[in-house]
């Protein structure tokens, strides 16, 4: 009862976990603050200079008591640490298999959202109630941070690196979206709204092409990626058996042997780097002849291309960036650590 009342505002699967830990930390803080302050006040009154109370022999140390306190506080600290570690590792880790991936691009000073079906929104994000959602975030310029206080969820949005966070929206409503990492002149206006809708309403919204928002309905990310693939002539080398460049079918999440002797897993971060800075890692058997695209594609287009390359795989592995991050041992430094 009390619990339901206290945490009535929790709007995501993560928020109740936050609330519990916040509540316990607050209880501990109040306890220790009151303890210290009341001891000080009691001693200050009882042992004030004017008081003639018998002070006995002054005590100057008590090693046993000190170690008891050190031990007790360490145990309390470790307890809170372990308790609070799991929800953190969960939301930044692999999402459930049915999680909807949504892509978030931060740039000075707006949020661009890409839904896989092609709906794009600016400074707005629509989500269906009760379905796990994984946000894949990247910045076009400086570090930003995606922050929805009602969800108690925050994730830095970093240039050159995919980050992710997943949660389940558990409350219908319109919630504030903030940029929490200082990003320049209009930092405090890099805000927006997250709207959580009933699944039925969300389906209607999707069908209408996201007309509830400012964005418009475009082709799906896979289709948009295919169009880019053709526009930039990627197919002339990466087409079937040209011999000039590796085939991209079944590339996603496969193991790639590189000319520098290392191997890499072709996850989102790897493919992004391979498009933007292809000379950084060249697969065995090929020449470093691919042009550099880092000045021609924005992060949204790269995400479209990755979506298209993923669609060329016959087996669609439910692999998240955070998941792939844990099995990227042995890859070179550029690939390593891009997805964290």
């Amino acid at each position: 009862m009390l619990k339901n009342h206290l945490f009535a505002n929790a709007a995501s699967s993560f928020a109740p976990k936050f609330d519990e830990i916040f509540f316990v930390l607050t209880a501990l803080s109040v306890f220790f603050t009151v303890l210290v302050l009341s001891l000080i006040v009691i001693f200050a009154i009882r042992y004030r200079a004017a008081s003639t109370i018998d002070r006995g022999k002054p005590i100057t140390h008590n090693t046993k008591l000190e170690f008891t306190i050190i031990g007790f506080l360490s145990v309390v600290g470790l307890g809170v640490f372990f308790w609070s570690a799991k929800p953190y590792a969960t939301i930044y880790g692999a999402p459930p298999a049915n999680a909807q991936k949504i892509y978030v691009i931060g740039k000075q000073w707006m949020w661009e959202i890409q839904h896989p079906d092609g709906i794009r929104e600016n400074d707005a994000l629509h989500l269906p109630l009760g379905r796990p959602v994984q946000l894949i975030l990247i910045s076009q310029d400086v570090v930003h941070s995606f922050f929805v206080p009602a969800f108690k969820v925050k994730r830095d949005v970093v240039p050159g690196m995919y980050t992710s966070v997943w949660f389940v929206p558990t409350k219908i409503g319109k919630f504030r979206l903030f940029c929490a990492q200082y990003c320049g002149a209009f930092h405090s206006q890099m805000t927006g709204w997250v709207t959580v809708m009933k699944p039925k309403d969300f389906a209607a919204w999707e069908a209408a092409g996201g007309s509830f928002s400012e964005g418009g309905h475009e082709t799906s990310m896979v289709q948009a990626g295919k169009a880019l693939f053709n526009k930039y002539g990627c197919v002339s080398c990466h087409g079937v058996s040209t011999g000039m460049a590796p085939s991209l079918s079944n590339l996603y999440m496969s193991k790639v042997h590189l000319t520098n002797g290392s191997t890499a897993i072709a996850d989102d971060a790897y493919i992004r780097e391979a498009i933007l800075n292809p000379t950084v890692h060249v697969p065995v058997g090929y020449q470093p002849i691919m042009p550099v695209f880092k000045d021609q594609l924005n992060e949204g287009q790269v995400l479209d291309l990755i979506a298209y390359i993923k669609s060329l795989s016959s087996t669609s592995l439910p692999q998240s960036p955070a998941n792939s991050a844990s099995n990227r041992s042995g890859t070179d430094e550029k690939v390593k650590g891009k997805t964290r």
Partner: protein
């Protein structure tokens, strides 16, 4: 005890040769090698910087009264909080206690006639002045808008403000810290008086020693890191900007590797001050001397292992996050040990409540709250929400203002009679201490709630639902300002009009009180002392019955 009696203890007809009247020319100050004069020059310099930083804070709080403040543009607001942070951290808090009170007191406390390297000490001041001058010039000529954290690639590529010039100033001032640190470490190792073993040292000396270790190990890292930012800005070397092949998270690792320990640079010396004040005004040997001494060292060393707790949401791996969280919970323990020992010192004491004691007690209360709220941010799950909100702002102000500045003010009042030879007005000092404590809580407690509600830090404009608490905070800031203005007025007043201070107004232990007149002569000791007792032997101090302590009782002790 009346003022007349005070003055009788040191007859006017007996003009003393002190460090203050040993040469009155400007040159005798600017070229001095006397640690005490250098401390005074630091005091004046950092006070001026505090006024600059405080003015910026005033502008910030005035602007945040309204959700869409219109006193200044977004750009100006961003420059304002950047200036506030840079000035207060690099040019006020970091040098505050070490360069002023440490500089003045450490040699006297250990029975030395000066620091080991007096010329290096003077160079420290000049480097500080040059660094502060360059950074201030950058601010006057247009300012910098990166925040004191200089996060890349914003600082290294995107900002169009005077990042390079500001960094050059901080870089140069960093050498001031390093030289000060070297000086203290060598002095404390090599120049202690006969009989003054490590475990007879005042705990203030231990705290300054621990701080100096951080100065030496940490400052070079921030210097190099900021130099790399400048290199990326000017030469486009790919270090932090991914577009050039760099890694923005690398900057955060390097920056916090220094800047977290820097928090301990700010708070450890204050802890040292509090460890001096509490036993004196409780008339009791400090409780658990060894634990307080070693907890300073533990904090200095562990402080280097927790930087990643600033990066829980940055994209560092969750496993790194866990290790940093674990270590952050553990570093709370030595701080808690200190709080326990200070409190236990009061047990069965004979406590009086002069201004230094009020500041020290205020320190304990505010530091406890600051420390406990640090646990929220050390906790991974809680930090995901609270990171980069006003909760963090409130937390570190409880540590750096509620803790570090309360300690600094406590120390200033405690040693003011020794430094200037004059007493400050006790009644006003008590009023100021209480106003500071109340105004501080009034300013920063609402910010905890704002952070919990989700207000991000560094927001010029904010949603209207946050306005009430922001107004409260701004009113509190006005109260707090009085808490700083009042001491500024009476300290300056006391220089000419304050009653003459006796050698030991607090009947405190320690060489600076027992062996040295107020103010001290240029070379501190006529003959070097030999130490025969442990620190804080107040049983001995109160039990002895000689004329000096009888005269010193005139200091206004409650039970005197």
């Amino acid at each position: 005890m009346s003022v007349t009696q005070l003055e009788n203890t040191i007859p006017e007809s007996h003009p003393q040769k002190t460090y203050l009247n040993d040469g009155n020319t400007i040159g005798s100050w600017l070229l001095t090698k006397d640690h005490k004069r250098i401390a005074i020059m630091f005091l004046i310099s950092i006070s001026l910087m505090f006024i600059v930083g405080g003015w910026a804070a005033t502008m910030i709080r005035a602007e945040l009264v309204e959700p869409q403040g219109h006193l200044m543009s977004h750009e100006t607001y961003n420059k304002m909080f950047s200036m506030h942070g840079i000035v207060m951290i690099f040019f006020f808090l970091i040098p505050s206690i070490p360069a002023v009170l440490g500089n003045f007191m450490v040699p006297i406390m250990i029975g030395a006639r000066d620091l080991a390297f007096p010329r290096l000490n003077l160079l420290s001041w000049y480097l500080y002045i040059i660094g502060a001058g360059i950074s201030l010039a950058a601010m006057l000529s247009g300012g910098v808008d990166t925040g004191w954290t200089f996060y890349t690639p914003y600082s290294s590529v995107y900002s169009n403000t005077h990042v390079t010039m500001t960094i050059v100033g901080i870089f140069i001032a960093g050498f001031s810290s390093i030289f000060t640190g070297i000086n203290f470490i060598v002095t404390i190792h090599k120049m202690r008086a006969p009989g003054l073993t490590w475990f007879r040292l005042p705990l203030f000396v231990w705290a300054i020693y621990a701080t100096s270790i951080i100065f030496l190990l940490g400052t070079p890292v921030i210097a190099i890191t900021l130099a790399l930012v400048v290199l990326e800005r000017t030469l486009h070397l790919g270090i932090f900007n991914p577009a050039y092949g760099g890694d923005p998270i690398l900057f955060q690792n390097l920056f916090w590797f220094y800047s977290h320990p820097a928090v301990y640079i700010m708070i450890l010396p204050s802890m040292g001050v509090v460890s001096e004040i509490i036993p004196c005004f409780a008339r009791k040997k400090i409780f658990g001397y060894n634990f307080i001494a070693f907890s300073s060292l533990a904090i200095a060393l562990f402080g280097f292992l927790v930087w990643g707790h600033h990066m829980f949401v940055s994209g560092q791996s969750v496993y790194s996050g866990m290790i940093f969280s674990l270590l952050s919970f553990l570093i709370a323990v030595p701080s808690a040990v200190k709080v326990f020992n200070w409190t236990a010192t009061m047990y069965k004491g004979r406590i009086s409540f002069d201004a230094p004691m009020l500041y020290a007690l205020g320190f304990i209360g505010l530091f406890t709250m600051g420390g406990l709220t640090g646990l929220y941010l050390a906790s991974l799950t809680a930090d995901v929400d609270l990171h980069d909100t006003y909760f963090v702002v409130a937390h570190f102000h409880y540590i750096m203002v509620g803790g570090a500045i309360m300690g600094f003010m406590g120390g200033m009042h405690f040693w003011w009679p020794k430094i200037t030879g004059r007493m400050y007005p006790e009644k006003w000092a008590k009023i100021a201490a209480v106003i500071t404590f109340l105004g501080f809580n009034f300013t920063f407690f609402p910010q905890f709630i704002l952070g919990y509600m989700g207000m991000p830090r560094r927001y010029h404009w904010y949603p209207p639902e946050f306005q009430t608490l922001n107004i409260l905070s701004s009113i509190g800031a006005a109260v707090l300002a009085f808490g700083y203005i009042i001491p500024a007025v009476y300290f300056i007043w006391s220089l000419k009009k304050g009653p003459k201070a006796p050698q030991n107004p607090w009947r405190a232990t320690g060489l600076e009180w027992e062996e040295v007149p107020s103010p001290p002569p240029t070379h501190n000791f006529a003959r070097l002392p030999i130490v025969e007792r442990e620190a804080y032997d107040y049983e001995w101090m109160d039990g002895r019955d000689d004329s000096l302590s009888a005269a010193s009782v005139a200091g206004g002790k409650g039970d005197g």
